[in-house]
Amino acid sequence: MLRNSDEVFVEDWSSRPEIAAAMAAMSNGASAQWSPPFFSVAIHETIVSYRQPIRAEGQFMGAFIPALTVNEMSSYLARLSDDLDIDAFILYGRDHVLAEPTMSTGKFAYSAANPLPTLAEAGNPILARIWDQDRRSRLSAPLKNAEAHYVVVDDVPIVLGGDY
């Protein structure tokens, strides 16, 4: 079911290995969890979904799966960045960008083969150089609750830190 449509789609997902694996895990007791990002043919965009198992008296009855698009998440990051006077990004792994404020403009063409832009494709100079320098670089004032490292972009030192 799509938000912007009254139509209800009925599809056979039994041949999709990632769905089959998730359903098998939930059938064996796995709890709810977020999925890796993947390209949705129905939405024509990359999405992340939340897999919530349904159980009745201990028996697995299926799952509800709400999905968010990466463009929506990027739009949220844009608002968050404005509100907090920051630049926010969500990376997937070390080399791909899940959400970034300018991605909400639809500038990236998602596909099954390329569900997420790489750091270089995102068009953000900070992201493009985020791993340029050793993340264990010493800082004079490390963050209290996060690791930190720095990069230099356009002669401006940029300190990045986190629990990674």
């Binding site: 359903m23 999405i47 709400p66 999905a67 907090l84 006077d85 630049d87 629990d163």
Partner: protein, 103 residues
């Protein structure tokens, strides 16, 4: 003096979500007060993301609990669709909702 601003980086990796924060600064050293400011921003981002994603998790859990207590609804496409539609109404950040049968 160069303008200072904070830049926060969120990074999601396969083993879970992690948070990073970046600070663009004009001085030679990362000042302690900037560190405190950065830590505050990290907390704020965590809170905001929780407020964005938390309701999706809560609503899905509520819907699953409801369906678990009324399993007949899972055999009734019209009622199931109505329940899912109502859930979407409460979650503007969600683009789509699916029910996947166990078989």
């Amino acid at each position: 003096m160069r303008a200072r601003r904070l830049s926060i980086l969120m990074m999601a990796i396969a083993v879970g979500s992690v948070l990073a924060i970046g600070i663009i600064y004009g001085g030679r050293n990362l000042a302690m007060q900037l560190r405190d400011r950065a830590d505050t921003r990290v907390g704020a981002v965590n809170e905001r993301l929780d407020r964005h994603l938390g309701p999706v998790e809560s609503q899905a859990a509520f819907l699953a609990d409801w369906a678990g207590h009324h399993p007949d609804v899972l055999e009734n496409p019209a009622r199931l669709a109505e329940a899912m539609r109502m859930s979407l109404a409460a979650l503007p950040q969600v683009a789509a909702m699916a029910y996947v049968a166990p078989d």
